[in-house]
């Protein structure tokens, strides 16, 4: 496996790369500078070279699959805590790993507190968490985060690397797959492990109009990103045996072409068009107090409360939360209508929602014509029960 490539037309044999290489992997030979097997792809020489004459290379399709084993999950941290997608990736990784007898390991990169977070992953059945902690990893710098993860990948040689399809994950994953000259599939919605350790990756394309089933049959590792809330969260194991391993995060590893000037949490107020979940109160919801009950359901589902036109006219809500021809058009993943009759002016502006649940006492209500799940019953009985069940489930977590 050839890892580094020297552009001899640019190299002026200054020798700085040899001097800087922390692993002593470079040497001057008659043919120019060459790398030996000690190379860990730390990228120090690539960054050091004043002539930009050094590149990472790896000949595609020359991989011995048996050398790449196990599943590595990139455990992203967000504002000092572990991003919830990580637990889902571990859950999926364990299922895939069980099929072919692999282990599941994690890699974490970050500033102070990363090691403490790493400990939190062990109860979920992870064998080893590799930690790269350094003040230089504060914030997100795609280049040096990639260097750290690449160091881990080249050390433990995983067959599969799973990365959350978050803003940071999607920014880093392509750098890694490119560096290892291998494949990356974005936003997988389904993963399956073949007996020969090829990972079957299914993802939507063309705005979800087509599903593509993709494999990476002749190269390793197999990189995939997966969105949050797609896979099932890992369950804790009864007697965790994993450990945290501190890796050497060198000064050179944190050297980045990016300097962070400012970083702050965004407080976002989403418009109803941007929400994934909407709960609608129609005229079946009688009083302001009842509106608050429906609002509580919306909040528990992480969404917003919306209204039909009569409800807005009666002062229960504002125009920014009105669905219909005289209000907004929405296309959420889930919409639950409570006491909504379903006039065409309303349904025309929400009937493309992925899942429509309608609660109404009138079995003839127009809303039931477009609903995917019909609940012909009293919302004053169904909604409080649903709220109680969700609350109980959240407390049990």
């Amino acid at each position: 496996m050839e890892l580094l490539k020297f552009d001899m037309s640019r190299c002026d044999l200054c020798g700085q790369c040899i001097e800087k290489c922390p692993f002593g992997a470079l040497q001057m030979e008659k043919s120019g500078i060459t790398a030996n097997e000690k190379c860990r792809m730390c990228s120090v020489c690539v960054k050091t070279c004043p002539q930009r004459a050094i590149r990472f290379e790896q000949v595609a399709r020359s991989v011995d699959k048996d050398q790449w084993k196990g599943i590595l999950v990139y455990a992203e941290q967000e504002n000092g805590t572990i991003h919830p997608v990580v637990y889902e990736l571990i859950g999926e990784a364990r299922k895939l790993a069980a099929k072919v007898g692999y282990d599941v390991n994690c890699v974490m990169v970050g500033g102070a507190g990363t090691k403490e977070n790493a400990e939190k992953l062990l109860p979920y059945g992870v064998k080893e968490v590799f930690v790269y902690e350094h003040p230089g990893f504060e914030g997100f710098k795609a280049d040096c985060y990639s260097d750290a993860v690449a160091d881990c990948v080249s050390t433990i040689k995983p067959s599969v690397v799973l990365i959350g399809a978050t803003a940071c994950g999607r920014s880093m994953a392509p750098r890694l797959s490119t560096r290892f000259h291998t494949g990356l599939t974005a936003d997988c919605t389904e993963l399956r492990m073949k007996d020969n350790t090829d990972l079957v990756q299914v993802r939507p394309a063309f705005g979800g109009n087509i599903m593509a089933q993709i494999i990476i049959s002749d190269s390793r590792p197999q990189f995939a990103t997966v969105r949050y809330k797609v896979m099932d969260k890992a369950k804790k194991v009864s007697n965790p045996t994993g450990k945290v391993t501190i890796c050497n995060a060198t000064e050179l590893m944190v050297r980045s072409g990016i300097s962070i000037v400012e970083r702050a949490v965004i407080t976002r107020t989403k418009s109803i068009e941007e929400e994934d979940v909407l709960v609608v109160a129609g005229r079946g919801v009688k009083t302001a107090k009842d509106v608050e009950m429906v609002r509580e359901l919306a909040a528990l589902l992480g969404g917003q409360l919306c209204f039909t036109r009569p409800m807005v006219e009666n002062g229960f809500g504002d125009a920014a939360h009105q669905i219909g021809l005289s209000g907004r058009t929405v296309k959420p993943k889930l919409i639950i209508t409570c006491g909504v009759s379903g006039a065409v002016q309303f349904t025309a502006c929400m009937n493309t929602a992925q899942t429509i649940v309608a609660i109404n006492t009138d079995p003839e209500a127009q809303i039931f014509r477009i609903a995917h799940y019909r609940i012909v019953d009293d919302l004053y009985q169904v909604v409080p029960e649903l709220i109680a069940r969700i609350k109980a489930a959240k407390e049990a977590e």
């Binding site: 595609a60 940071c168 990356l184 936003d187 394309a205 993709i214 702050a264 589902l301 609903a371 995917h372």
Partner: protein
């Protein structure tokens, strides 16, 4: 200031046909448009040029029909353009596409700033920009929704990282991928139409690239293989929940729990 903007011509409609034999998408004959995200990239480049001077070069990989997109880019004000077009590029995945584009950038002698749209509307991966940066060993900032400062030596951008924003600064050369909120792309100028029609477009095949290693282009250079393409599962059913109100609430609870709404 030398700026390269990577652009792509995408199908106008997201309803596309599939080649049953190869499992690849059929692109021929379908109506096309410029990937909308790339218009924001071009607009950003033009604004930086207006501020600092320099050139804006459009780089695209695709069939020769991409010329119509280039003419539009010229009408918006791009200085020159290169189409990387070769049948050997067909079937490229992220690795091969980003490699080919990075070769195009090397052929152009590099750039101070490379700007890409955040993603295309056909592939939807948002991976090409960072992958090009990796091929060229450049730092990159993705999800840029504001250029907070730009000078002849560095650029400072605001990145939207979902729960946080980050203002990052990079010295040239570097790459950014821009979001759609970053600016309003100008309309093509009909005053420039005649000029744009005359302007040359360089079409480059794989032999003209600096490192024409045939194993790295197109289907051959693509580690991912599309095994099959199929229509997405149809949406939710048309189901009436039965039982008492409590039982119905319980069924709805199970449905919502299975879909991870809480």
């Amino acid at each position: 200031m030398k700026i390269i903007v990577c652009m792509k011509q995408v199908p106008l409609s997201s309803k596309v046909e599939i080649d049953e034999e190869t499992g690849n998408l059929k692109r021929m004959g379908a109506a096309t448009r410029t990937n909308p995200f790339d218009l924001f990239a071009l607009e950003c480049a033009l604004r930086i040029r207006e501020q600092l001077g320099g050139t804006v070069t459009v780089l695209t990989m695709g069939p020769e029909q991409a010329e119509s997109m280039i003419r539009d880019a010229y009408m918006m004000g791009a200085d020159d353009a290169v189409i990387l077009s070769d049948r050997k590029f067909a079937g490229s995945d992220v690795l091969a596409t980003s490699y080919t584009l990075s070769q195009g950038i090397r052929m152009l002698g590099g750039a101070d700033l490379i700007i890409c749209g955040r993603q295309t509307t056909d592939g939807d991966t948002a991976q090409i920009g960072p992958a090009i940066a990796e091929h060229l060993h450049l730092p990159h900032a993705a999800w840029v929704n504001e250029i907070t400062d730009v000078s002849s030596t560095h650029i400072q951008v605001r990145q939207d990282l979902a729960s946080v924003f980050q203002i990052s600064e990079m010295a040239y050369p570097c790459l950014i991928t821009v979001d759609k909120d970053i600016c309003v792309p100008r309309l093509p100028s009909y005053r420039r139409k005649v000029e744009a029609a005359m302007k040359p477009i360089r079409t480059v095949s794989c032999q003209d690239l600096p490192d024409p290693d045939m194993t790295r282009f197109g289907l051959v250079g693509s580690p991912t293989t599309v095994e099959r393409i199929f229509p997405p599962p149809t949406g939710a059913g048309n189901i009436t929940l039965e039982g008492t109100a409590i039982e119905k609430a319980s069924q709805l609870f199970d449905l919502l729990a299975a879909a991870k709404y809480f």
